[in-house]
Amino acid sequence: MTNEIILSVSKLRKWFPVKSSKVFGEKQYVKAVNDITFDIHKGETLGVVGESGCGKTTLGRTMIRLIEPTSGKIVFEGKDLTAFSEKEMRLARKDLQIMFQDPYGSLNPRMTVGDIITEPYVFQKMYTKKERIEKAVELMKICGLDPVYIRRYPHEFSGGQRQRIGIARALALRPKFLVCDEPVSALDVSIQSQIINLLMDLQQEFGLTYLFISHNLSVVYHMVDRIAVMYLGNLVELADKEDLYQNTAHPYTRALLKSIPSLDFSEEHKLRAALKGDIPSPINPPSGCVFHTRCENCTERCRQEVPPLREIAPRHFTACHLYDGQGKIVDA
């Protein structure tokens, strides 16, 4: 990992309009990504964790402009992606790829593995047909698939193998930045570790930078260098992995960590529900700090004032009033 920033987002926002029941009512939005700012360094893995509906998937897709942001900037290698025309963006996509959670829905059932892996070359008009086959063979070998199966269809493979096909496709254009959207969540435990190891090997081999989205904190701990915690579309904490697990700052992160069922079965480690109640609707998120409805440290101020993201220790950011006055505010 270097200190060179490969991609940074600032005040990135994606609000999805919702059909309101009233014709002349105020327009309502699902605030899926709400003014998020952070950097990703070259060669690192940034983990994004959060519960369903926290906006982590939308964040990953908005960052590579698969979903158009409502506002904010995405700067990749010094260039602002949001200012790119459609044509420029199509070319830039060579560097920005994504792999998906669902090993069934992410591969076209009517295409052979060879067709699937080489499709990006068709879109980018790269290589001759023969070269494409050679590339496909090479990619299959890299991802641990036997190239003799190049003419098979996705339904002839197991879930883990399908994820490997998805990885091969994402790597076809030799991207610099790869969004991994819950890549192992749909897999069995014994297969999960195969894919995690493969992703880590590929990162070393090709110098990839990952945005690793997952709801599984144990997997994230193993995979990543830094972790961003999201809650209801907001970034609540961002820190180096060890720092986040050991010096947890935000009450939500603490609750999240406490909720993981550990393999430790002794009585003192018995799981206790760390949070009461449910996640509020992202359409009308709570005022002030979005977490205040479930927070045990909630004060009157939390109900009214939105806490800014501040650096409370070197490289450790959090958005919580508890740390008021302890660090400088980022990106005011």
């Binding site: 590579i64 070319l91 994504i98 052979t112 499709e119 879109f123 086959i133």
Partner: protein
């Protein structure tokens, strides 16, 4: 897209051990399922039989289409005329075989027109959504709200009689059902992650439509088209029965039944046999369509 399949020699030279590897596409599987369905296979045989009869009509039939056996009008089935003769002494069996040409052509050509319109309208509405979808959906509804046969009659009045115009009339009437099905299917398919993956590597809309969306609609198109063919055949028969479709002396099952009405007493077979031909054809296509749907529906695959 099919390039990987055709160039198998390229593969075998490039990839060691690739020649021995089997692969089954979705359609292989579907055909295997279809072959297990006995009813479907009987229907398929009937359809093939009708097609062969239509193509080789001059070789099969004992007489010319308009040969008149003067003095032997309206006779019942006999050794010379297996299904009897009509009011001009023409052989009914011969006329039925020739009539199958009209029915099958209507099934093929009119349905092709319907599929072309339905696919384009449905795909555009489903893919672009929003206002485009709203406008196209209203157009579909307007077309669908006319009673089909009345609409076809109006078209025939405007265009005039003749077989080509029958194709057009039946085609223009029959596309709305397919358009609706394709629209909703494209709407679902465009949410799939493989479409997102294509977009993420720089795929254009047209590439996505032709590489991902339409191939995944193909089985629906096959099923809907097969199931629409019988009603197309019926529309043609109805139009011809009303005298708006195929004009004499050309034979069509509908016009034959229409003519035979007048001679029900003298020769009942004259009206019954074209009717039976119509029923068998329509039934065969209908049951085949059902079987195709079962064979091609991936949701039923793992049950």
């Amino acid at each position: 897209m099919r390039f990987f399949k055709r160039k198998s020699d390229v593969f075998n030279s490039l990839i060691e051990g690739a020649e021995g590897v089997t692969y089954t596409s979705f359609y292989h599987d579907a055909f295997k399922r279809l072959r297990r369905d006995k009813v479907a296979m009987v229907c398929l045989a009937v359809v093939i039989l009708i097609v062969v009869a239509a193509i080789f009509a001059p070789l099969i039939t004992p007489y010319e289409e308009d040969y008149m056996d003067i003095g032997n009008e309206l006779s019942g089935p006999s050794a010379e005329h297996w299904l009897g003769t009509d009011e001009f002494g023409r052989d009914v069996f011969t006329r039925i075989i020739y009539g199958s040409r009209v029915s099958l052509m209507v099934g093929l050509v009119a349905e092709s027109i319907a599929v072309a319109i339905g696919l384009i309208v449905g795909a555009v509405a489903g893919f672009y959504g929003g206002k485009v979808d709203a406008v196209l959906s209203r157009i579909i509804e307007i077309f669908a709200s006319f009673p089909h046969i009345l609409f076809a009659i109006v078209v025939m009045f405007v265009l005039g009689t003749g077989i080509i115009n029958v194709f057009i009339a039946v085609g223009v009437v029959g596309w709305t059902g397919l358009a609706r099905v394709i629209r909703s299917q494209i709407m679902q398919l465009k949410q799939k992650e493989y479409v997102e993956a294509a977009r993420a590597s720089g795929g254009r809309n047209m590439q996505i439509i032709f590489r991902h969306l339409i191939p995944n609609c193909l089985s629906t198109i096959i099923v809907v088209a097969t199931m629409n063919i019988p009603s197309d055949i019926m529309y043609e028969a109805s139009l011809s029965f009303l005298g708006l479709g195929v004009q004499p002396p050309q034979a069509s099952w509908g016009s034959m039944i229409s003519e035979a009405r007048k001679f029900m007493r003298q020769n009942p077979g004259y009206s019954v046999f074209p009717g039976v031909a119509l029923i068998i054809t329509v039934l065969a296509f209908n049951l085949l369509g059902d079987a195709l749907r079962d064979a091609l529906d991936p949701r039923l695959k793992n049950l």
